[in-house]
């Protein structure tokens, strides 16, 4: 559940959308947003969260502290 995009920082470049293994990222108006129900922090897919790795603006894809961390796939 945990990553979010800081709207004021997002350049709307769309780079993260194609890299997300969960198809959790979509365009909404002038920014991209992460669906917290789909985000897995890339756990089980890659060593690092892909949106963070490709985002051209540092500190734009960040942990959403308002939500609990991803707990892994339900058993």
């Amino acid at each position: 559940m945990p990553y979010k995009i800081v709207a004021g920082q997002c350049t709307n470049c769309s780079a993260c959308e194609a890299e997300c293994p969960n198809e959790a990222i979509s365009e909404q108006g002038t920014t991209f947003v992460i669906d917290p129900a789909k985000c897995t922090e890339c756990i089980g897919h890659y060593d690092t969260p892909q949106c963070v790795a490709i985002c051209p603006v540092d500190h734009t894809c960040v942990i959403d502290t308002a939500l609990p961390r991803y707990q892994g796939a339900p058993a």
């Binding site: 350049t11 470049c13 769309s14 780079a15 959308e17 194609a18 790795a53």
Partner: protein
């Protein structure tokens, strides 16, 4: 001397082909011949040192032929926002509508909108021959959008040449797709062939699902760029190499880059000055990294100019630029406007217009050939001159209206285009704070004369005081022939002792200036 017969690019172009042919016939020694309508002299067969099949590819591509850039226009469609590397001269957050530099764009297009825009522009600007995808990110980091755009455009406007510009990281994966869509011009930005140098330019690349930093990032990027270049060469796709000259970082190293890309079959090398200002928010802008002066840039370009063509007419345009290089008509073709336009693609009309352009261009080359005779006794003297032009290779711009000056080097070899100088106002904070005339004299301070269609009394006196001769007696005549005629007079005056030849100093390169047709709030 024949004069320009095509209308100004500022208004509706007017072509009278009969008039063109008449002018051609009047031009001594260069009439049309019976062989396929080609002129008996001029450049229709291309320069002597260029194979005909390559000339066919570049002759109406403004970015690949200096000569073509006076006559033909290009457009970029901004369908590729994502990027896969980070460069220290780029900051994607900063986007000003009045600014003109790579990576900057006002609105993003879908492939369908892009195709519509291409039709609208092609219908309005018949000399628009080239469609490029140059970002604002990297076209090959957005492959679906990029190739879908090419597919749509090749269906609706098959006569338009397709090209793209890439950082090269993903290039080897897409070369076959590039060949499939008949994209026959690809530009790769290569700033180094040594990761030790590259680490100061590229903080990271996104590679195999990881952000790779440091020297390793540049090693991967360099290998992919050179491999991609080799693959393009193998397939006969023309490659242009762009390099950003960053003084103290890669300036001397670019001679090595030049050798490396030449050895791998690159067609053209374009060394551009770093654009860097604190307000751009780039790493280089914020840490005070300066760009080169006009003479530093020219010296490096001269040093690299062996048996390889150097591009000196690059305007470092926006990823959504429209028009001749040096002009930007993108504000006329916003999404709202193109959707409201009644677009009619007139392939025949475009062809007729382009044939007229070709005739004019041959007349220009012939005029230059006439003037160049008798220059052999020049000796060692060479001078630079600045020219105010709106295109077509003609001196047709008023001094006070010029947004840029084209610079020609005059020597025993004739007139050679060596660059251009922007003199338009800064996007921000420039208005009223800076005397416009001072800006111009700084930008062309290394020139002995400035050729204009017209000039007022005050700037004339100020230019003379600065040691730059204003020349308006060649208004609406061909640039190169006029410059050579002036140069002969200059040399005669030097020989007779009427004037003393003195070397001029250096000049400043203005950066990040707007070149939009309209001033937008921003």
């Amino acid at each position: 001397m024949a004069s320009s017969v095509l209308g100004s690019t500022a208004g509706e172009p007017v072509v009278d082909i009969a008039d063109v042919m008449q002018k051609m016939a009047e031009h001594k020694g260069c009439g049309t011949s019976s062989e396929g309508g080609k002129a008996s002299c001029g450049s229709s067969a291309g320069p002597a040192d260029m194979p005909p099949e390559i000339w066919e590819k570049v002759k109406n591509h403004p970015c690949y032929s200096e000569e073509a850039h006076h006559h033909y226009a290009r457009m970029h469609v901004a369908v590729a926002p994502a990027c896969n590397i980070q460069c220290n001269y780029c900051n994607r957050k900063y986007d000003c509508a009045n600014e003109s530099r790579p990576g900057v764009v006002s609105e993003r297009l879908s492939p369908e909108q892009a195709a519509r825009k291409v039709l609208a522009v092609a219908s309005t600007i018949p000399q628009m021959t080239v469609l490029g995808i140059a970002g604002p990110g990297d076209p090959l980091a957005n492959p679906r959008k990029t190739f879908e755009t090419f597919r749509l455009i090749s269906e609706v406007a098959p006569d338009i040449k397709l090209c793209l510009s890439t950082n090269g990281l993903a290039l080897p994966d897409w070369v076959d797709e590039i060949a499939k869509y008949k994209v026959d011009h690809v530009t790769i930005t290569i700033n180094m062939v040594d990761p030790e140098v590259g680490q100061h330019i590229y903080p990271w690349v996104f590679w195999n699902h990881q952000r790779v930093e440091g020297i390793e990032a540049s090693r991967i990027l360099m290998e992919r760029q050179l491999k991609g270049l080799e693959m393009l060469t193998e397939r006969g796709i023309l490659a242009k190499i762009n390099s950003v000259m960053i003084p103290g970082v890669n300036d001397m190293h670019l001679v090595e880059v030049n050798k490396a890309v030449k050895a791998r079959g690159a067609f053209l090398h374009n060394i551009m000055p770093l654009i860097s200002a604190p307000e751009h928010g780039t790493v280089f802008g914020l840490n005070g990294q300066r760009g080169p002066s006009a003479q530093e840039l020219k010296a490096l370009q001269d040093a690299c100019e062996g048996d390889m063509n150097m591009m000196r007419h690059c305007r470092q345009c926006r990823a959504d630029a429209v028009g001749l290089l040096g002009e930007d008509r993108s504000a006329e073709f916003t999404t709202d406007k193109i959707m409201a336009m009644d677009v009619q693609y007139d392939a025949e009309g475009r062809k007729a217009y382009q044939e007229a352009v070709e005739a004019e261009r041959q007349a220009k080359v012939a005029a230059k050939a006439d003037e160049i005779a008798g220059l052999d006794a020049v000796g060692e003297i060479s001078v630079l001159v600045a020219v105010a032009t709106k295109g077509h290779g003609v001196i047709n711009e008023h001094f006070g209206h010029a947004k840029e000056f084209q610079v020609y080097e005059l020597s025993a070899k004739g007139a050679k285009f060596v660059g251009h100088r922007r003199v338009d106002l800064y996007c921000q904070g420039g208005f009223g704070e800076e005397d416009a005339l001072d800006t111009i004299t700084r930008a062309i301070n290394d020139c002995h004369a400035v050729f204009v269609a017209k000039i007022g009394g005050c700037p004339r006196a100020d230019l003379e005081k600065a040691g730059i001769e204003p020349v308006d007696r060649f208004a609406h005549e061909y640039i190169e022939a006029s410059a050579i005629a002036w140069f002969k007079d200059y040399l005669a005056n030097v020989a007779s002792g009427a004037i003393v030849h003195v070397e001029r100093g250096d000049a400043a390169i203005r950066q990040g200036a707007y070149s939009g047709g309209a001033l937008l709030a921003g």
